[in-house]
Symmetry: C2
Subunit: 411 residues, 2 copies
């Protein structure tokens, strides 16, 4: 008998019929003797419908009111799922984020979970009830409704699993696991049986849309076993665990991640003095723009060029902020490009192997692809290239690192 | 400078354009220097959409989950209206029933307000903000979401006005006031400039759909001046006040109310012993069925017939309960009719005038309409008739009591 937190995304609860199917799946887990907490998203299309309503009234709706508005999407789903569970003879109770004590900071539309009062849920579980929780939302210390931003339901599920010390957090989605890369780009892409948290964080942050990075970080931090499964077909999915300590052969590279939604900005001729970097980045992050890659090169005459990437939607806003900063810092100019893509190879195996970077760069060079930026971490190498080369680059790398070959697992 | 509580129903907020029009109206009140608390319903059609979703999943959805579901309707409206107010440069904050401390009992889908914490609203008003509150909803002592039942937004508005000691509670609706009777039935029906709380309670309870009876009771109890106005055209509407003490001529009868949504049930041959009435009515009201008229006649051999009316939707349920009771009480039989209507004449003026009842009965008799039940109060006489005679009866009474003639008001 295990305690499972199951999370179902918008597509999985996209119609009354699909909500019934989710209820069936929860019911099977109860039949197995498991306790279940279910976290659900808004029915697919609902969040967009609500946003369109807001936009029909205001071009710049207040973030606080956006949260009041869009949080209704999940609230509808929890009620409907609870009804579908009741119909199957299960006791179930629905809760909004606020009702179940999900406290967040007050960064409306992008809030972060600070703590969870698990007492009420534990009481329901002890009484044999299924607990159904609205994902993606919470309340701040003053009781204002907050949302965690799109995809935040994953984070809700992991945070509940951590608070309840659940045996597994299962993320049901429309794909059946984590793949070596996007199968729509590479035919031979292969489902991974398991992947480490570190690798998953790199994969998720780089655009593998399966899981939200914050959810994986949370899961890694609190050591919550996380499994990605399909809502629509049975299967084991992909288990995301602490670094595997078995003796099995580690592949050099586990997967190829990529992201089209990036834009890069360069501020050139910045005086190379201490504090320049923070004077550039702080106003950007104060505007709640997330910064991804950062590269700085020291140039001639004590001036430096500073390049970073942001989400493409934030490009214009970041550019405006940067233009202001440039004149304050007496920098030379601000340039940018929003037709770029980022491609990364990810794998814990690359830690102990030399030559991974050179194989990567060589493969790209063989295809005539110019590398605009490079950034590395212990288990990842990322490059920025022109967007038009994205598919070509991913296919070349998938082949160069032989990702279509299954890894031989030894018992 | 006054404190106004304004309530806008579903039709008044039925589209983004109409929400903008409400924002304009609120903005004009602010321009006049008034403080405003706005209570809104769900956009028209939204509650029915949500109920249909629930019904697509379960024929008997849990009342607790129905409340979680349908309360999202008002939550959407408060967010959108706040955005529309912001656009006009007004500071505004939206609150769900729970957030603004509307505590109710736990009778899901039919909850009653028990208390209101007005502190948070008062703080916003003092800071110059418009407070936008979701009507129709609250939370019970355990934080579960409750709803007051359809039309409960009126009650929310009056309860807030009472808690905040507002100068006026304005109910904006799709009619421009309270009429002597339904203008769709009688062409010459006339808008009343003012009506007493007592009359309004009788009118509302008898089917004048303008205002919820609980709202009027609340307003009368806490002496909240209540005004019914149109959202769509300007005008003074109808003011509902304590009994008028001026010297003006009182009409005998102020209006004709009627209700098609009734059904009657008779349990015959009940032993005429103390406690019979409560043994019959308690199980019915325990099932949350509201009982309207009650008539009891003592018959022969110490047995009595007991007749009451309920909402037509509750007819089958009440019949089932009554069949149980009948055998326990060894009553003779249970009969019923759900094709009845109730027509009432209402007026504080009838207190001091004899002959009102006989004029009413004579008018109906002249039209060949049989009276099935009679019930009277100090300011009202109600009769139950076959539904098919409803329009004929209302027209006959409107004419007999000369309601098309405006009352001459003396200064």
């Amino acid at each position: 008998m295990a305690l499972l937190v199951q999370k179902y995304g918008g597509t999985s609860v996209g119609s009354p019929e699909r909500i019934e199917a989710v209820a069936e799946r929860v019911s099977r887990a109860r039949d197995n003797g498991d306790d279940v907490v279910v976290v659900v998203s808004a029915m697919s299309g609902e969040t967009n419908r609500l946003i369109a309503l807001a936009e029909s009234i205001s071009e710049t709706p207040s973030p606080r009111e956006m949260d009041v508005l869009v949080s209704t999407g999940e609230q509808v789903t929890i009620a409907l799922l609870s009804m579908a569970l009741h119909k199957r003879g299960l006791e179930a109770r629905s809760y909004t984020g606020g009702q179940v004590g999900i406290r967040t900071d007050n960064a409306h539309t992008k809030a972060r979970i600070q703590r969870i009062d698990e007492e009420r849920m534990q009481g329901d579980l002890n009484a044999g009830r299924v607990v159904v929780v609205a994902g993606f939302q919470g309340v701040d210390d003053e009781g204002n409704i907050t949302t965690l931003g799109r995809g935040g339901s994953d984070t809700t599920a992991v945070a509940l699993a951590a608070a309840l010390k659940a045996d597994e957090c299962q993320i049901y989605t429309d794909v059946d696991g984590v793949y070596t890369t996007d199968p729509r780009v590479v035919d031979q892409a292969r489902r991974l049986d398991r992947i480490t948290f570190e690798e998953m964080i790199e994969m998720a942050s780089l655009g593998s849309k399966v899981l939200q990075i914050r959810a994986v970080e949370f899961a890694g931090k609190y050591n919550v076993p996380l499994r990605v499964l399909s809502s629509f077909k049975d299967g084991e999915g992909t288990l995301i665990t602490l670094e595997d300590e078995s003796e099995m052969e580690q592949p050099l590279v586990s997967g190829i991640a990529f992201n089209r939604d990036e834009a890069k900005l360069t501020i050139s001729g910045v005086p190379d003095t201490p504090g320049s970097a923070s004077r550039i980045l702080k106003p950007v992050s104060d505007a709640n723009i997330e910064i991804d890659m950062i590269v700085q090169n020291v140039g001639a005459d004590n001036r430096t060029d500073f390049t970073f990437t942001v989400h493409r939607n934030d490009y214009e806003k970041a550019k405006t902020i940067l233009d202001d900063i440039a004149s304050n810092l007496s920098a030379r100019e601000v340039t940018g490009d929003n037709r770029i893509a980022k491609v990364s190879i990810v794998g814990v195996g690359m830690r102990s192997h030399a030559g991974v970077a050179s194989l990567m760069f060589e493969s790209l060079s063989n295809e005539g692809i110019n590398i605009q930026m490079i950034s590395t971490s212990e288990i990842k190498i990322s490059v920025v290239i022109a967007e038009k080369y994205l598919e070509l680059a991913v296919r070349a790398l998938h082949s160069a690192f032989e990702l279509h070959e299954p890894v031989v697992e030894e018992a």
